[in-house]
């Protein structure tokens, strides 16, 4: 029997199972878009047939990082910007776990930008949900990497001189094999996209637009969205990298003018995940590494038997 019997357990689950029976320390303000992410994630879990014990959720710091307090599964609330490296090692250690990483636009496009690029580049099989509210919320309203140029905050009182990062283009260029954007105010699309991202075999980047009613009242999160998959105007082949890049460029240019597109931008079903690439080079164990530590019959070879001849 597996040491991890929760993994792959076939049973019906419902979204309520993913609600902790512990009152979380309230940190999300009334009307916060993060509730929309939480709801969509809870709804997606039964859709993909997962139970709380087989899901490992890694979060960063800030309001988004508190997702773990509201979501019942194995959880690891890491440090600012570091949820991806912690998460991807857990996946390598036990590839059968459902690994989800969640962080804010500061975590993934700012302080942890390097990790974001490299996790996408390597195409680790996991979901990276980025709460994009164009602001640092929990530190009380400073300009974030996605804040529009000219954005005024206490730390950039004359308005930001920086152009915002383009998250979709960034992850596409870095090598993500699934890139989508959805929004807290669009719950039906959000849960579908998250379910799809979880089932995708590779790095799935979901840029999740969330509103911050406390610190970013003017942001575009309140404007209507167009779903690119529902719109006749945008008929692009999601497996075509070039087309995806063009449409991303277009929408990211217009984002701050209030024209917001959501939906799937790019899906590459063929690109092997990092774990598959690593298996191909012979540097990935066949069985989940973590299992070994629970197996009483596991053989722990001595270096004395294997390696010392070389030194004689």
């Amino acid at each position: 029997m597996s040491a991890f019997s929760a993994i792959g357990e076939e049973r019906e689950t419902d979204r309520d199972e993913f609600t902790p029976g512990i009152e979380p320390q309230a940190t999300w303000c009334p009307g916060c878009g993060d509730f929309g992410v939480l709801k969509a994630l809870k709804q997606a879990m039964p859709m993909v047939g997962k139970n709380p014990d087989e899901v490992a959720l890694f979060t960063g710091i800030g309001c988004s990082g508190k997702l773990n307090s509201y979501f019942e599964s194995y959880g690891f609330h890491t440090i600012h910007g570091r949820e991806l490296p912690v998460a991807r090692a857990a996946k390598l250690a036990n590839p059968e776990l459902e690994v989800i990483a969640a962080g804010g636009d500061g975590d993934n496009y700012g302080i942890g930008g390097n990790h974001f690029i490299h996790t996408a580049r390597e195409n680790h099989d996991m979901v990276s949900i980025v709460f994009n509210n164009e602001i640092f919320g929990l530190t009380k309203g400073q300009t974030s990497p996605t804040s529009p140029k000219g954005h005024k905050s206490k730390t950039q009182p004359s308005g930001s001189a920086k152009s915002p990062i383009r998250p979709l283009s960034l992850s596409l260029t870095a090598g993500a094999s699934y890139v989508a954007r959805t929004a807290a105010v669009n719950p039906n699309q959000a849960k579908e996209i998250l379910a799809e991202a979880i089932e995708h075999d590779g790095f799935a980047h979901v840029d999740f637009l969330t509103q911050c009613p406390t610190w970013n009242k003017d942001a575009k999160q309140y404007v209507p969205y167009t779903d690119i998959q529902q719109s006749d105007e945008y008929d692009h082949d999601v497996s075509d990298r070039q087309e995806a890049a063009e449409i991303m460029y277009e929408t990211e240019s217009k984002l701050y003018e209030g024209e917001v597109l959501t939906g799937r931008y790019y899906v590459d079903e063929d690109r092997p995940s990092y774990q598959e690439e690593k298996s191909a080079t012979g540097e990935m164990p066949d069985e989940p590494l973590a299992e070994r530590y629970f197996d009483e019959d596991a053989e722990w070879e001595r270096t004395a038997d294997e390696l010392l001849d070389y030194h004689k």
Partner: protein, 633 residues
């Protein structure tokens, strides 16, 4: 060490094969029945510059690089010449000869490659006159020509080794064997020819020196030649470590490379990642998921790990980090040893943080204490650091293979099985009580579960948290959790005291004076202590390898027993002396320091001189060291 010894120094430019040649030379000496020890000196530069390796050999226990050396093989720096333009960078090429002469002992032998060195440059060195003064025996040989005649220029290394053998009366069969083992085809054939030719030519020459290869006992076939890095890596493997993540940085790269090359054979995973923050974070992630994991770096890279180190402590995720010190601050001297990161390793990270720190004192301790670091980290759910330096990283030493003949272990420590989780405490919501205030067994360790186990769900967070892992700022909970986490250090101290003291005592128990040392200079100090006692002093030494938790009782007792103690360490500020005073809180007036921080490890005679001038109240004559008197002196 008693009796005759050879300290052979091969010098050349980086990239000229000095390192590999010296390794083979050392191995050949070991196979001929001698005890060997190597010391490596190289610049932070890929090709060219001044590089040397010393191989010290004797017929009994060799513990340090020794004092100076008695055979110089100066090969010249072939990279001082730019082959494209025929440019020649002044006397750079002659450095392997000119830069090494000051440490050559009286009566020593010099072989230099006249094929590569210009006569004019040699003339500038005043070699004849100096040879006369010091009774040096100089053999200019055209090693380059022999190499070119039978193979390629780079094989002048082989020619130099053959010349050494001919001059010292060594058997070349061990070199032949190694060439046959390590090379193949034309390259092997050519090297064998170069070896033969050079040996024959030099054998026929007239010799006027006394130095010979030390007499050897029969070779014990169970001897293996390896470095501190090998021992750390093998200790980790034997303790069931199957995951490593890192970013290259000298000298940490050594352990990282050895692990990366071997982990796939053992069914493990190695990850080279984007930076050191990621490296330590990956090790934490793998450990969280149930694997025994390790990461590490050197000073600057370890600085980046300060953040994940604190996370591991707060979330009680076991992890082992290796810190391979080099001279700092900042990037410092990348290829030179120093023991300057002690305080960095002990105290980095915010808050009242705690971790376990071991500083192995030699090759064997590298293995033992790495295993212990894993054991403690996983039993007590705390980060453990193995701190060593570029000296232990770079030196090769022979040891009996039987030393490594130990039981491997994959024990993940305080991880529960699903059956045990079912019996364990849960919150009414079904959440596993991962961080209990008062664990059932009365210890400070609350057992853990691993993602994927049924009903083991918990939240790990770097924020203060309650028993289920949820963020909490409740004052009472805070005190409970802090006390429990910090209490582990006391438990570990007790555990180490009872089961695995890592302190090493040397010299007569009733000696009047003491030398206190930590880390890589332990055996050099022990050699110096033997010499001091032979000189009529009454000295003993204590090598301290547990740095946190500090062995307060053991060191206190030892300090009680001596009149005064000289603390020997390779840094400028006496960090270990400071630690000892802080931890013990007394003995300040008994402790003085002998410090060296010029990038070169202590030689035993320097410790002898430092000690003698300290007890005689004389000023230190050597200007490459610093003496700091006791507080209040």
């Amino acid at each position: 060490m008693t009796g005759q010894e050879l300290i052979w120094r091969i010098a050349g430019g980086s990239g000229d094969g000095i390192d590999s040649t010296s390794q083979n030379f050392a191995k050949a000496l070991m196979r001929s029945g001698l005890d060997v020890f190597t010391h490596r000196h190289y610049p932070s530069r890929i090709r060219g510059g001044h590089t040397f390796v010393e191989v010290r050999a004797s017929n009994d226990d060799v513990r340090s690089r020794g004092d100076g050396y008695n055979f110089l093989l100066a090969l010249g720096d072939s990279f001082a010449r730019n082959p494209q333009e025929g440019a020649y960078y002044g006397n750079e090429e002659v450095k392997p000869l000119s830069e090494n002469l000051h440490d050559l002992r009286e009566g020593g032998v010099i072989v230099y490659d006249e094929g590569l060195l210009e006569e004019d440059d040699i003339a500038d060195l005043n070699l004849e006159e100096r040879a006369e003064e010091n009774d040096w025996h100089v053999y200019p040989l055209n090693l380059r020509e022999i190499a070119r005649e039978h193979g390629r220029e780079v094989m002048r290394n082989t020619a130099g080794v053959a010349a050494t053998a001919a001059l010292l009366g060594m058997d070349t069969s061990y070199f032949e064997e190694l060439i046959q083992e390590n090379m193949s085809g034309d390259v092997m054939e050519a090297n064998l020819k170069v070896l033969d030719q050079a040996y024959d030519e030099v054998s026929e020459m007239d010799h006027d020196h006394d130095l010979t290869i030390p007499e050897a006992e029969a070779h014990d076939e169970d001897q293996v030649l390896l470095s501190g890095s090998n021992a750390i890596a093998y200790g980790a493997l034997d303790e069931g470590c199957r995951f490593i993540s890192g970013y290259p940085m000298t000298p940490w790269t050594d352990v990282f490379t050895i692990m990366s090359q071997n982990l796939p054979k053992f069914g493990g995973i190695s990850e080279q990642v984007e930076d050191e923050i990621a490296a330590a974070s990956l090790a934490i992630g793998a450990s969280h998921a149930g694997v025994k994991a390790m990461s590490g770096s050197s000073g600057g890279g370890f600085a980046l790990m300060s953040e994940p180190l604190g996370l591991a402590e707060m979330t009680e995720t076991p992890v082992v980090l290796v810190e391979a010190m080099r001279a700092g601050p900042s990037t410092g001297m990348p290829t030179k040893p120093e023991q300057g990161d002690l305080e960095h390793v002990l105290y980095t990270s915010q808050g009242d943080s705690s971790r376990v720190v071991f500083a192995p004192g030699n090759l064997r301790e590298c293995y033992d204490q790495t295993r212990k670091a894993f054991e403690i980290a996983y039993d007590y759910q705390i980060p453990a650091i193995v701190v060593y330096d570029q000296k232990l990283q770079g030196e090769l030493r022979n040891v009996d293979e039987g030393f490594f003949d130990r039981e491997p272990s994959g024990d993940p420590g305080s991880v529960l099985t699903e059956e045990e989780i079912a019996e364990a405490a849960h919150h009414e919501s079904g959440k596993f009580q991962r961080f209990q205030h008062e664990p059932e067994d009365g210890s400070n360790v609350s057992p853990r579960s691993v993602p994927g186990q049924k009903d083991g769900r918990f939240l790990a967070t770097g924020n203060e948290h309650n028993e289920s892992g949820h963020i909490s700022e409740d004052p009472q909970n805070r005190v409970f959790q802090m006390d429990r986490r910090l209490g582990k250090l006391d438990d570990i101290r007790t555990d180490l005291d009872e089961n695995a003291s890592h302190q090493t005592y040397h010299g007569p128990e009733d000696a009047d004076h003491g030398i206190l040392v930590w880390g890589s200079h332990q055996d050099t100090v022990f050699e110096a202590v033997d010499r001091l006692n032979e000189n009529g002093h009454s000295v003993k030494a204590l090598g301290v390898s547990d740095l946190m938790p500090y062995p307060v009782e053991e060191v206190s007792e030892w300090l009680e027993s001596v009149d005064q103690a000289l603390v020997v360490e390779m840094n400028a500020t006496g960090q270990f002396r400071g630690l000892t005073q802080k931890e013990i809180g007394r003995f300040g007036p008994k402790l003085s320091s002998l410090l060296k921080y010029n990038g070169n490890p202590f030689e035993p005679h320097e410790i002898v001189e430092g000690f003698e001038s300290s007890i005689n109240g004389e000023e230190l004559a050597a200007n490459n060291m610093k003496y700091v008197p006791a507080a209040g002196d």
